[in-house]
């Protein structure tokens, strides 16, 4: 009993000086505003999936469109009711492959050079140049493809072989566009490899090349793989170069010197005119957009997973 009253007394004293947190409404409001800002990006994603999904569903419900036929036929002619996706996918893959054939070897070579060979002075000059390349708007590359690369290709391979609009020219210039991206990501991965690994290899009598290619590159492989995948994702989503240089009109061909429209190029051409709502063209760009969104999302997730799974962690 006495014990209890003592406890009461103590509690009474404590309540005289209130040590509990005062509710601060201002802080709470600000915090919820900040939370809303953070959550806003979720709305954007939901908006993309919902809007694209809704209109794409409408597209596949149209009487002219058959989901299975879209996936199995190779003719995309909205005006005759043909919606085979393959001509668009095929030319997207072709420009991407051509771009990566340029960007992967060149980008990695430049990255190895910058990280392993170049002295600091050269690196301080070269890295800003690469950043300039990365900052040039893609429409400028499109202009470059049409007014420089295409005439060059026509000069080399002959005017009868190379059409004015062709996937080769778009792909090559896209390679130049992606080069700085792959270089800077690869270079980051290479520089993260600790010095001690290199010193150990030198101590064993390895040459500079052997250190670079057999020690440093394998150690940074996860970062390099991520860079390549991000590059591919960027190439698939790249729009203005193909819209300007790759040609208008879907075309199922494996000839890189013939004009063929990619997914992104098609979206731009279709929406360039005044598009009326709920027309089949309007809905088709949402279906194509959804396809594009899922391809690039999958690639981005794979690249993040690779970095997380296979990263070698050094102290």
């Amino acid at each position: 009993m006495a014990e209890l009253s003592l406890k009461n007394q103590v509690e009474k004293k404590a309540s005289a000086i209130n040590l509990r947190r005062k509710p601060r409404w201002g802080e709470t409001i600000i915090q919820s505003l900040l939370f809303f800002s953070g959550f806003f990006s979720i709305f954007v994603t939901i908006g993309i999936v919902y809007e694209l999904g809704k209109e794409a569903l409408l597209f596949f419900q149209m009487p002219e469109v058959n989901f299975l036929e879209s996936l199995t036929t190779a003719k995309w002619q909205p005006h005759t009711g043909n919606f085979g996706i393959w001509p668009l996918v095929n030319s997207t893959l072709m420009t991407t492959v051509i771009a990566m054939l340029i960007a992967i070897p060149l980008g990695m070579a430049v990255a190895v050079y910058l990280s392993e060979y170049a002295n600091p002075r050269v690196r301080n000059i070269l890295k800003p140049i690469l950043e300039v390349l990365a900052g040039i708007p893609t429409i400028v590359y499109g202009y470059f493809a049409l007014t420089f690369m295409t005439p060059l290709l026509r000069e080399i391979f002959g005017r009868d072989v190379v059409q004015i609009y062709n996937t080769a020219s778009a792909g090559l210039v896209m390679g130049i566009l992606i080069l700085p991206l792959i270089t800077s990501m690869t270079e980051d991965a290479l520089s993260a490899v600790p010095r001690s690994l290199r010193e150990a290899a030198y101590g064993m009598g390895a040459t500079k090349l052997e250190v670079a290619l057999q020690i440093v590159v394998p150690a940074a492989l996860s970062g390099i793989a991520a860079a390549i995948i991000i590059g591919i994702s960027r190439a698939i989503g790249e729009t203005m170069i193909v819209a300007v240089a790759a040609g208008a009109g879907p075309n199922f061909t494996f000839n890189p010197f013939i004009g063929a429209e990619t997914i992104t190029g098609h979206i731009v051409r279709i929406s360039g005119g005044d598009l009326s709502y709920d027309s089949i063209d309007y809905n088709s760009i949402f279906a194509l957009g959804l396809l594009l969104f899922f391809i690039t999302l999958a690639l981005n997730i794979i690249s993040q997973a690779i970095v997380r799974r296979f990263r070698e962690v050094y102290e």
Partner: protein, 413 residues
């Protein structure tokens, strides 16, 4: 004995290994050179198209406009105004007078107007800079043979007039003022949307968020959004801002129904679309800037009794601001160069009046470049090259200011 053999073997193929090393070194260097050559080719190609000879013919022979034997070059301002008044329709004349009263225009401006509206020079052939410099005589001979009436001038397509003139369909008098103003208006709304939300999100994620599943999803989601192709944002903007929010983006609910914008394809829609596009970039950059603020600064603030928000507002944000602004400027320069989403959102193909409200139709610099590039005639290619130079100068000065900001104000701890 065995050791010696190993050393011997080492020495035996050392030459080959070193040779391979040199070979690859050259290869790596060559790749770097290829990259630089590509950049140089890009720049030279643009400069090559932006200057050169132009042959043009007058649609109306200036000699027929002479009054009492005085050619139009020597006429007084009043004579020229009278000429404009008598030649153009009264509607066109009044419109010009409304834009800027003739009384206020200088003789030079009026003369320019006569050339643009009455003489109307027409381009017959264009040469790039390189042939203009190396084969000037051949060009003169060609023009004299093929177009005896044409005049040949060496022009720079990029002039101060080019930057200040509105867009027209005539290559010789076209300018990019409309497009530059369109870009600026668009960027204004991009900043208004993306900067507060972006910085707010970064503060939330760095200062407030605990490590639970929801916040991890938010972070992953932001990283993924940064990798979504820009054209997807264009489609999203078309569905949400142009279509679903049409009453807002076309200005209808504000009672601002004017004839120029009866739909949602306005500056406001374009700016908000680009805002969504750069939002993840701004968040990621701002997060890095906030993360660089040392813990001790926050603890000192808490120690003297500041609340969380007081700490963030008075200590974390001011310290992180140079980094946040640098990241924002870089994001803005990305938005200024974007073309694809704006084509999808519905940039106008040919407008000659300047945007003057959030609900104006618009065109932007990259859109203008895209349209001129898509035209088959060489003179439009030259216009595109000149506008590319304008765009690159704009972006370069933005990036330079970002670098200056970083070097001038950033503090290291």
């Amino acid at each position: 004995m065995k050791e010696k053999a190993v050393v011997q073997g080492f020495a035996n193929n050392l030459d080959a290994r070193n040779r391979r090393g040199v070979l690859w070194h050259v290869l790596f260097q060559a790749s770097t050179v290829v990259g630089i050559v590509a950049l140089i080719a890009l720049m030279l190609n643009i400069i090559n198209s932006a200057f050169g000879y132009v042959a043009y013919e007058a649609r109306v022979d200036p000699d027929t406009l002479a009054v009492d034997g005085t050619p139009i070059q020597d006429q007084s301002k009043d004579q020229l105004v009278a000429l404009i008044h008598s030649t153009l329709s009264s509607g066109a004349y009044n419109k010009l007078d409304n834009e800027k009263p003739f009384a206020d225009r200088s003789l030079e401006e009026v003369y320019q107007l006569v050339v643009e509206r009455i003489v109307r020079p027409k381009v017959v052939e264009v040469w790039n800079l390189w042939p203009s410099l190396t084969q000037a005589d051949a060009i003169r001979a060609t023009v004299a043979r093929d177009h005896p009436d044409a005049e040949l001038d060496f022009v720079s397509w990029l002039t101060t007039d080019f930057v200040t003139r509105p867009q027209t369909s005539e290559p010789l008098t076209a300018g990019v003022r409309t497009a530059i103003l369109g870009s600026l208006w668009t960027i204004l709304f991009t900043i208004l949307l993306a900067f507060p939300i972006g910085v707010g999100a970064a503060i939330y994620l760095e200062e407030y968020a605990s490590d639970n599943w929801l916040n991890r999803i938010i972070q992953t989601n932001i990283n993924n959004l940064a990798g979504v192709p820009s054209i997807i944002y264009g489609i999203l903007g078309l569905a949400i801002f142009v279509r679903a929010l049409e009453p807002l983006t076309s200005g209808k609910i504000f009672g601002l129904v004017n004839l120029t914008s009866e739909n949602g394809r306005t500056v406001l829609s374009a700016g908000l679309t680009l805002g969504l596009l750069v939002l993840p970039i701004i968040i990621i950059n701002a997060q890095e800037a906030i993360r660089a603020v040392p813990r001790s600064l926050r603890n000192a603030s808490f120690g003297v009794g500041a609340t969380k928000w007081q700490t963030v507002w008075s200590h974390v944000l001011p310290t992180a601001m140079p980094g946040i602004l640098t990241g924002t400027i870089l994001a803005i320069s990305r938005a200024i160069g974007e073309t694809a989403p704006l084509v999808v959102v519905g940039a106008s193909t040919a407008i000659s009046f300047d945007p003057n409200s959030p609900f104006s139709k618009f065109t932007t610099l990259p859109i203008q470049i895209y349209q001129w590039t898509s035209r088959p005639q060489d003179e439009f290619r030259s216009l595109a090259a000149a506008s590319i130079l304008v765009l690159l100068v704009l972006l370069l000065s933005l990036n330079a200011s970002a670098v200056l900001l970083r070097n001038r104000f950033s503090r290291r701890f």
